[in-house]
């Protein structure tokens, strides 16, 4: 059979929204298995500095488990060039809420119905969103979030890394990582290389606004506000933000549990997606 015959239908619909801040960006919507269901709980999912891949096994898995997943593409990770409207941590967190508003995810009566999930940089943003408006969040799942700094466990400086050094730091198995990171692109082609360099400048430049030079924008001073039940999922082989940070997050948050996953590094959602789906589903639906 050819690839086209076996390719599944896209697991999500993409809509393009413009927020009240005039930021235009696409949003992926994964409807729960069995079609749109009015009663399904919604998860607002935020990606890490790598952006969403064409296929996102964790988002697929959550939808299959009956959750509706709304996954915005962060400004700079799409062709819409509105990223200059967001400069700092507060802008980032408010943009998350602006997306939720625009997507109709907030109830008029203010009841907390929305779940938040975020990976790495996305986890940092989700946590800040929860600190700003804890009353609007039902439950939260953070996958090895950025946002803290421990002097005894310095986080490697990804902004000073050469492309070939990334897989070693991001994946439990660097060989798998190499494939995921390059996506088979041919960098000997000049146009491809320029496109790659431009995307890197925009996306990692944007990430740098909250991650450079130290990925700590003092969330720990606001962590006391995050009273929502929070699950922290961490890869045991995370060499970027090592599991010691799971303990620090748990200590900082009023209501947090930790689940460590074997055979996963910092790119845990791609390395052990089934385990992540199981842990997150169990937490969000309990």
């Amino acid at each position: 059979m050819s690839a086209t015959e076996t390719a599944p239908a896209p697991a999500f619909e993409e809509v393009v929204i413009t927020t009240r801040r005039s930021v235009t960006a696409p949003v992926r919507v994964y409807e729960p298995a069995g079609g749109a269901s009015a009663g399904a709980a919604t998860v607002l999912a935020l990606h890490g500095a790598g952006g969403w891949l064409p296929g996102e096994p964790v988002l697929d898995g959550l939808a299959a488990a009956g959750l509706r997943v709304v996954a915005p593409v962060w400004p700079a990770w799409s062709e819409h060039t509105d990223e200059d409207r967001l400069s700092d941590m507060q802008d980032f967190a408010l943009h998350g809420w602006d997306v939720a508003t625009e997507m109709g995810l907030l109830r008029a009566d203010g009841a907390a119905e929305l779940h938040l999930m975020g990976h790495s940089m996305g986890g940092m943003i989700a946590a800040e969103m929860a600190a700003l408006a804890p009353q609007s969040v039902a439950r939260m799942a953070l996958l090895c979030p950025a946002g803290m700094w421990l002097d005894d466990h310095p986080i490697p400086d990804i902004f000073a890394m050469l492309p070939y050094q990334l897989a070693e730091v991001l994946f439990a198995d660097p060989n798998v990582g190499e494939e995921v990171l390059t996506g088979g692109a041919d960098f000997s082609d000049n146009a491809t290389l320029t496109r790659f360099m431009v995307a890197r400048a925009r996306q990692q430049g944007m990430a740098g606004k909250i991650l450079f030079p130290i990925p700590n924008r003092r969330f720990s001073e606001r962590a006391y506000r995050v009273t929502v039940p929070t699950l922290l999922v961490w890869g045991r082989q995370d060499r970027l933000i090592p599991p010691a940070y799971a303990d620090a997050w748990q200590a900082a948050l009023p209501d947090a549990t930790v689940e460590l996953v074997d055979g996963a590094g910092h790119m845990l959602p791609y390395e052990q997606s089934a385990a992540v789906v199981a842990a997150v589903t169990s937490h969000l639906t309990s």
Partner: protein, 427 residues
């Protein structure tokens, strides 16, 4: 206008070990601290400052210093300290501080103050440089967020210029700096402000910024004038597009120069020191050269050469003296040879200011003086008038010193004078 020659010292550390390139990751940012010897630095700083004073003596139009941080080829994190020393011991040459990385000063108003001090101290001899700064200095050493660096730089520029030109106390409500009472005190002698030089490494936004404000654009590269021509052609095209005057005073270029009695003597005297510079001093970890967000999308798409790109690093590895000279990285040889190539360089790049890198790498003092003296006496005079009368009335982007300024040669002895007993009764 006459071509201006500025004798420039990067102030490299002269004792990087032979195995530096293989045993160390980078000359910049995370250079091994144990390689620095403070007691040795006592002599090194004085030797370099003596050379800058000697350049004043030789009649160079300017003497130049710049700012780098955590850098083995530039031990001058504060160029203003060196400039202050030079202002006290020289009297003729422009003091070219190329420059202060204005986004790194907190608040940037500090630059307005210190440059005003230097202008007063030197009697109006300051040429003021405002670099955006390299990623190594600005982002990795001084922690500025790459994607916001340029915005912060422009804001710092606006603050400094208003501080120099607004006679009133004013409030500055910036995104990065907020000051309720800005009141630059002292103020510069040169009005409305000293000439502004913007040293660039190839960001095309910088061209428009220079042209909109009528600042000098100086391309500081170690790749020499042949490689620099593409970039400078782009700059001059932009000057034409914006309908600005084509006076060479708008542009400067840094060139490594080695002068000797003969071409053969140049190789014999200077080869090892040039190779020290290219092989050890430019050994920068490529991961520090291009943090995402630092270069704009426009610059990346334009594909401008970046002097710290990986392929250029690899290029340096293979370079021999012959490559350095033929490729224009180094202009070297007898006074005739050097004059001929300098003329070619000045005309090709259409520059009004040349930053003369006559000390490089681990060159010993005597060779530096020898090369500099030959250049000053046998090369420079024949080049000053290259642009003839064509731009006689053109702004030359150079300092305008006071005529009756304090001159150190007149005051040095007097400074140590003991008080005389007052005549008559003391009240």
């Amino acid at each position: 206008m006459t071509v201006k020659f500025c004798w420039f010292n990067l102030m490299p550390w002269p004792d990087l070990p032979d195995d530096f390139k293989t045993e160390h990751r980078s000359v910049w940012v995370d250079i091994d601290g144990s390689l620095f010897d403070p007691e040795r630095a006592n002599g090194v700083y004085h030797e370099y400052m003596d050379q800058l004073e000697f350049a004043d003596e030789l009649g160079f139009d300017g003497i130049g210093v710049n700012e780098h941080h955590q850098n083995g080829y530039g031990i001058m994190p504060s160029p203003n300290i060196i400039a202050a020393g030079l202002a006290r011991r020289t009297s003729q040459a422009a003091i070219c501080v190329i420059g202060n990385s204005i986004a790194l000063y907190n608040p940037p108003h500090r630059v307005a103050e210190e440059f005003a001090m230097l202008d007063c101290l030197s009697g109006g001899r300051l040429v003021a440089g405002f670099p955006v700064g390299t990623p190594m200095d600005t982002n990795f050493t001084y922690g500025q967020i790459p994607a916001l660096t340029r915005e912060k730089y422009y804001e710092a520029h606006d603050l400094i210029m208003e501080a120099w030109t607004n006679p009133d106390v004013f409030a500055f409500d910036g995104k990065y700096t907020q000051l309720r009472y800005v009141n630059c005190w002292p103020k510069p002698i040169q009005q409305p402000h000293p000439p502004i030089y913007i040293p660039g490494g190839g960001s095309i936004e910088t061209w428009d910024f220079c042209l909109e404000n009528d600042y000098n654009y100086s391309y500081l590269s170690f790749n020499g004038y042949l490689a620099g021509q593409t970039l400078m052609d782009g700059y001059w095209n932009r000057v034409g597009e914006l309908d600005k005057s084509m006076t060479p005073g708008r542009a400067g270029f840094a060139q490594i120069i080695c002068t000797a009695a003969t071409d053969a003597e140049a190789e014999e005297l200077y080869s090892e020191h040039m190779l020290y510079f290219f092989n050890r001093c430019l050994h920068v970890f490529p991961g520090f050269a291009d943090p995402p967000g630092y270069r704009t999308v426009k610059t990346i798409q334009a594909g401008k050469l970046d002097q710290f790109r990986k392929e250029n690093q690899a290029l340096f590895k293979r370079l021999t003296w012959k490559d350095l000279v033929e490729g224009g990285y180094v202009i070297a040889g007898s006074p005739d040879t050097v004059r001929e190539r300098m003329e070619d360089m000045i005309k090709r790049l259409r520059v009004g200011t040349v930053f003369c890198l006559l000390h490089m790498g681990n060159m010993p003092d005597w060779k530096t003086r020898y090369s500099s003296q030959l250049f000053a006496e046998k090369v420079m005079p024949g080049l000053r008038g290259i642009w003839g009368d064509e731009f006689a009335d053109a702004e030359d982007w150079w300092c305008k010193p006071m005529d009756d300024r304090v001159r150190p040669e007149d005051t040095m002895a007097d400074a140590r004078r003991y008080p005389e007993a007052p005549k008559g009764p003391v009240a």
